[in-house]
């Protein structure tokens, strides 16, 4: 399976003449909601915070929908721009980081057969995400776009204004730093 298979295939072209807010919201959200949520979730410590900020992003998208020009940017690139701004604003407002337990991973989709296995899996993911959040802002951003939103390298490049090769190289470096963090913590 190639990564493109699990990314929504095309960005919808929303125009101001769309019939209703409900419909606009549904189309935007169906195409990009999950990717935006996962991107934000890699940066945020709780599922509630990610839900709230995802809602905030889509409110901004709906407010600014009439200004979106498909000739200038792909819809997903445009929405990710809005999400990145919303995340920056969120961190400016927040300033402090809070301690969050494994319970906060209520949003983890899993096929673990037993509660014990699910808990172990959740703990493993919680440790992984916590380690990601100790990385520098650039590394976090790359990992969130790649593994949170599952964007292909070329699309990450468009969001960050980088070439595909540069994205690839920076991701390797980010993963090497992540591995070092994990090794340090486990030792």
């Amino acid at each position: 399976m190639v990564l493109r298979d699990i990314v929504p295939p095309a960005s919808p072209q929303i125009r101001p003449t769309d019939p209703s807010t409900d419909e606009r919201c549904r189309v935007w959200y169906d195409a990009h909601g999950r990717a935006i949520y996962r991107y934000l979730r890699f940066h945020l410590e709780s599922a509630d915070a990610a839900d709230d900020l995802t809602a905030d992003v889509f409110l901004r998208v709906l407010e600014a929908g009439h200004r979106y020009d498909p000739a200038k940017a792909d819809a997903r690139t445009w929405i990710f721009g809005i999400a990145r701004n919303a995340l920056r604003d969120h961190f400016r407002r927040l300033r402090v980081r809070r301690h969050v337990t494994v319970d906060a991973l209520r949003d983890l989709a899993g096929d673990a057969p037993s509660p014990e296995e699910r808990l172990l899996r959740a703990e493993e993911i919680a440790q992984l995400l916590a380690a990601v959040r100790t990385l520098g802002a650039r590394d976090q951003e790359l990992i969130a776009l790649r593994y949170g939103s599952e964007l292909p390298f070329a699309e990450i490049g468009r969001v960050l204004g980088l070439g595909e090769a540069a994205v690839r190289t920076r991701l390797w470096r980010a993963l090497a730093r992540l591995r070092a963090k994990l090794t340090e913590e486990r030792s």
Binding site: M1, V2, L3, T21, D22, C25, R26, Y29, D30, G33, R34, Y37, R38, R41, F42, A47, A50, D51, T54, A55, D56, V57, F58, L59, R60, L62, E63, A86, D89, R92, R93, V96, R97, R98, H99, L105, D107, L108, A109, G110, R121, E124, I125, L128, L129, R133, T134, I143, R146, Y147, G148, F153, R168, L171, W172, L175, L178, R179
Partner: protein, 206 residues
């Protein structure tokens, strides 16, 4: 063992990390989309940081106050606010077992005014052994000037930890103690300073 995925675009040595990160499939709550549509239809708008114009007005007001205060000081007038600003001090004490969990891995940062009044108090968890808070280290508790007790969760058992004495307020003398109330699982619910002299009967937490 993890098999190499050529489509990952990564060298094979990252396969295990690549697989682990791909496994973090997190889902928004199912009701989110109708909630957003409903909020927008009701006229609700996204939370935003203050507009540039409002921030400029804020800065202008602050500058005006500073100019007036400075003018008064130069003319010999007494401006208490300037004293308070000049005497603000931040003290970091690390590391102790403030929360009763994980050993002596907690630090406390106290911002005081006039070497006495606590303006801000933060308890953090020290991870990288540099004995000070660095970005990425968990903030366990933070409070403004007044001592604050966060509500415990139902069924929580509370434990009080007391440390005395040290120079927690930056006054230059190790005559302060710190009192921490935490749940048995280490969630810090309250932290405050007290003076060694007079504690506990003739003293107030600050």
């Amino acid at each position: 063992m993890t098999t190499h995925r050529p489509d990952s675009g990564l060298p094979p040595e990252f396969d295990d990390l690549d697989a682990a990160l791909r496994g973090a499939r997190l889902e928004p709550r199912a009701s989110l989309e109708p909630e957003i549509a409903g909020r927008f239809a009701r006229g609700e708008r996204a939370a935003r940081r203050p507009s540039r114009k409002r921030m400029m007005l804020g800065w202008a007001a602050a500058a005006a106050v500073a100019v007036i205060a400075l003018g008064a000081a130069v003319r010999g007038g007494y401006v208490p606010a300037l004293d308070a600003l000049a005497a603000t001090k931040t003290t970091n004490v690390c590391c102790q077992d403030l929360d009763g969990v994980g050993g002596a891995d907690d630090g406390v940062i106290v911002e005081t005014v006039g070497g006495k009044r606590v303006r801000r108090l933060v308890v953090y968890e020290e991870h990288d052994k540099d004995r000070t808070w660095t970005p990425g280290e968990t903030v366990r508790f933070t409070r403004p000037a007044a001592p604050t007790l966060f509500a415990p969760k139902a069924g929580d058992t509370l434990v009080t930890h007391q440390f005395c004495c040290g120079d927690y307020d930056g006054g230059g003398v190790p005559d302060d103690g710190v009192l921490v109330v935490a749940s048995a699982d280490g969630n810090v619910l309250m932290a405050a300073l007290f003076d060694r002299d007079g504690y506990p009967t003739q003293n107030q937490l600050r």
